[in-house]
Symmetry: D3
Subunit: 245 residues, 6 copies
């Protein structure tokens, strides 16, 4: 149920029993010639909507701007700071808590947001003792991704506009993918990238990090399903513990 | 052209000639039983999209959270602080300027955001001398609203879920309006509201401030058209001055 | 009663019954060759003192620095940021509340301060539930100004060193006005000024916005009286509500 | 020359040769039954005006609010934080520098402001390399105070509403002093006051720290003269170095 | 070479050729009954000193306070915020850059600091374009730890006072380890710990997460050597690139 | 007892009776050719350790970075801002209070930190009503220094790498002093240094302010003993008052 399309009257009636709010967050970020700038938002929304069907929750409007420091110099990227994200999300969390929500689920489609989100969950933990906040970025999908991936990973944690992310998009928004423009780009990512800040244009000309031509809808479907199931289980567990205590 | 659905490659090619970015911003706010919580976002998007058709611009994804201090205690409202809005929007503006945009147009559908937006335009004026920032909230519509309005205005500046706003929604998103639930609510707004902070629940039980039953699609159409034309003229003028200088 | 000239002992005895504090705030801002830089402070003090005679209040020392972004490049203007104003005034408000004051009235003589003041009143509303804060800028004077004004307004909200403001000064501090230097200056204020930041030197050579030669003491008297009466009525009403509850 | 009473036109003409701005700052603070709450402001203004007569300078309007942490719980004190003071004064300094001022002299009448003022002078040193900022609190008066004082000092650095401060007030604003209410109060100030925060009400019932009955106008005159001469000499020296370099 | 024990004269002479500064950072954090509170500082120093022997660098004094949110409720932990760490470390980095250092290496012994350190490296990247900043937390040790570990890991990323960390301490500071008090503690770490904030006392009574009884000096030696070699190689590479460009 | 080398278990048992925490703080600052950069840290630690032997306290790890604005341009100095220090120390104080400590003693070896420390003690006074915070910088040593000093003081408050500070170092860390390099440097410190910011390189070529050749271990011993005794007495007094109330 989309929170933006419901109304005040309905929320007032349902809030006591329907006290989970899911916020999708992504980014506007260069994803090469075959994927749109809003890829991470589309994926976060797809995950959030599927998750809401599994648990009794409202889906909040997507926060479409994220921290894209590493790709900020590629055309089309819009970068916001960790501090700005943290403050806005803490405001939202506090407001949700005052409204009576008990579980705040941030479904993130963009790796670069994770640090800010971790800080948000901790700040809200102290600010709103009644609210439990989750921050999810494809939880539980490590194994399935390893199984499905046919190309070699360019880097141990980044996946960006590659076989995997393109597969996810084929599954949730096929019409936003132009497979004719999908490319294979295997740059040599310097080892120091894990220890010192690097703008990605320092090691690649195009904002694609892998072989997008190997993408397949079915792969995306499998990964999305695993992530949604993992999130649903964790929320159901939290809901159970909350109502029992 | 929706920025989120275009891609990095296209932006790289077009940015020099297509250097106007339009950002819709609204709020999640209680609008009574006949209008959705996301009303201000829907209206901001409608204005932004129509404006983009008139001037050669990208439409950025909507920032759907706003400052709703006055109605924060009504069910469904999500309130964020002026400071959080200002910081996030300044980040976005700086990023747009670094990307090569020359004109940043914030199309606002929610009165409560205006103070933050004014501060944003001024901060960006100093931070990004190359960028011109506009903040619009239904510009130039004072007269047409006075002409069209059949009910008396409850307050000299607020219009909220009333004849006017409901008319706007009927024109741009009729399926999101439930006219069966539209009500007339004429609370006695205390005079001191202009001089001291008041939560609206202090003077009204429902978050409707006027007579929504008098709403009509045609009224909304006229107001939207006036606002869009005014914005388009101002932007065309700015564009002309910029390219001439 | 001037707070600065009373003493600790007296305040200790009177604070329970005399719990209204009035703070004048203005600015140091270019007002052309016929009015002093401190015009807005002089006017704010005049309003505050007259108001204090009507309600049982202390008048605090004037805060003489304000936000003068638009005229900051004219000789003599001193500009402070909204954030600095907000923080200082919130400190003052909190201190007044701890001292036992119940009503904090900010009498503002400078339009540019209004945004900061609105934020102050809201922050104090949350920080000090026992304190009621008003921010006044010539309340209730719209009609009388329209009636009295002989020259056409240069802009729908600005009045600056013009017929009106000069009249106010003639009434409250005639010796600070040099009518021999009063000029008529009717610049063409661009329409975009309402939507994008403009330094006033972009459209006028002198910091006068209207016809100061038409100023008259009697006009100033009428406007001041209306403003003071409006403020006094609102405060008396608030005082009544407070003591009844 | 009072800056607030001059005008933009005059400043524009004089700023190149008259590039010293003097800002008096004090506080609203309990000073017992014989001295007004605004004592520190009155003294700062008196020093500033006398100083301006010696050097060619503008006197800015007094900033009448200061940091009164130690006496904040006495009736009538208004306390503002160091951070708020620092930010406001840095704004003022930057604005003065943009206006063309070269020397910014802060004449302080309240010991509690000194820490904030030191930080201000250092921040402005980095922010405005063209501006030289002084912060003065009765410079060079150590010896003369020792000579004149008949009562014993209650504490090695505090002087508050005592023989000395009352003498200063008798000299500069005799009509604001009620010597009939002047008292002798010699509390036992705990030694730890220099090392751990103490609210003064922990060791004294009245906000007087010494023997005010020994105050004499002539004592005040001598101290003021020494302070003014010291400030004038330092400014003249700085002015000389500046124009020579 | 310990920076704190060298002197200004020597630094002045060597800074051009010896332009690498290594900062150890750890935390004061509960590590059970067999390891001291300063374990992470001791380890960071040991790594930093060994690294300095491999590359021509100064070792700065250890910053001994870190972010220990998860264990803040265990006796002896001292927790500082990410924001405080970030600001202090950015100050240090800027100062080093102004002093002429070219490479700033933060050697971290405490996982909880990693988020703050990543932000620091990025902020310094923008603030000090001449300075290259690294943040290391046992780089390159994943494989060797897997090989050496005899007990099962309690969690995929945490290692705390367990077989591994105790081994590290046995190698670098055997006299600070009391193996008689080493315990095996295998709590059931809830899966949700990766997605929502949990204080560790929610799932364990003692701040040990694994089997410390299996610790061995030789294991620690191997891991330290791998980490030091990895850091040295990356710094040598950066040094080479810098001097070549 | 060094807090860093004790462990969680011991703290848990002792905290109720051993509730005093001593934090040494100094700086990394140029001290000429005969004293190390870490001089102020070494001295702070020496004072802290001696103090801990007199009162039943834990000694926390030294915070080795301080505010060295005045000497920041001399080789080897590392400068951090007052704000960064204040925030970090307030975090530490709050954490100590949550752990159960009742008295927090900051033993400072660097004059430049005093302003930040005063702010810290006041902020903690409000944040942690249960915690009493002291900030000490050689308390009670004024007279003994005057007695012992053979050279004239270069300035009324600064003592830096001179007879006095070198004597202190000879007593507590003789092996860190190179008396062969000790020099006499008596620069002409401009009078304005007390009223306007000056970088010390403006008046001296070397970061020594006095005659270090006159240093003697015995002088240092006497000063340290006086300071330690003064601190111990004040803490014992506070401890007594606390346990009695």
């Amino acid at each position: 149920m989309q929170f933006a399309y419901t109304n005040s009257e309905i929320v007032r009636q349902l809030i006591k029993e329907k006290s989970i709010a899911i916020l999708p967050i992504g980014a506007i970020e260069a994803h090469g010639p075959h994927l749109p700038l809003g890829t991470d938002n589309i994926l976060a929304e797809a995950l959030a909507n599927r998750l809401a069907q599994q648990v009794d929750a409202f889906v909040l409007p997507t926060l479409p701007y994220g921290q894209v420091w590493s790709l900020r110099h590629f055309a089309g990227s819009i970068n916001v700071s960790n501090d700005s994200l943290i403050n806005l999300l803490c405001d939202i969390g506090q407001s949700l808590s005052e409204q009576g929500f008990k579980i705040f689920v941030i479904v993130n489609g963009h790796l670069g947001n994770q640090m800010a989100l971790k800080e948000v969950t901790r700040k809200l933990y102290d600010l709103c003792p009644e609210l439990k906040t989750f921050a999810f970025f494809y939880p539980g999908t490590g194994k399935i991704i390893e199984e499905l991936r046919e190309s070699q990973a360019v880097h141990h944690t980044f996946f960006h506009a590659d076989e995997i992310e393109t597969s996810l998009m084929l599954y949730v928004a096929e019409d936003r993918v132009d497979m004719n423009k999908a490319i294979k780009n295997i740059p040599n990512v310097p080892e120091e990238v894990d220890y010192t800040p690097m703008s990605w244009e320092q090691f690649t000309d195009v904002p694609v990090l892998g072989d997008a031509t190997l993408a397949a809808k079915e792969k995306g479907k499998r990964i999305i399903e695993v992530a949604v199931e993992k999130m649903a289980n964790l929320i159901r567990q939290a809901e159970k513990e909350r109502t029992q205590s």
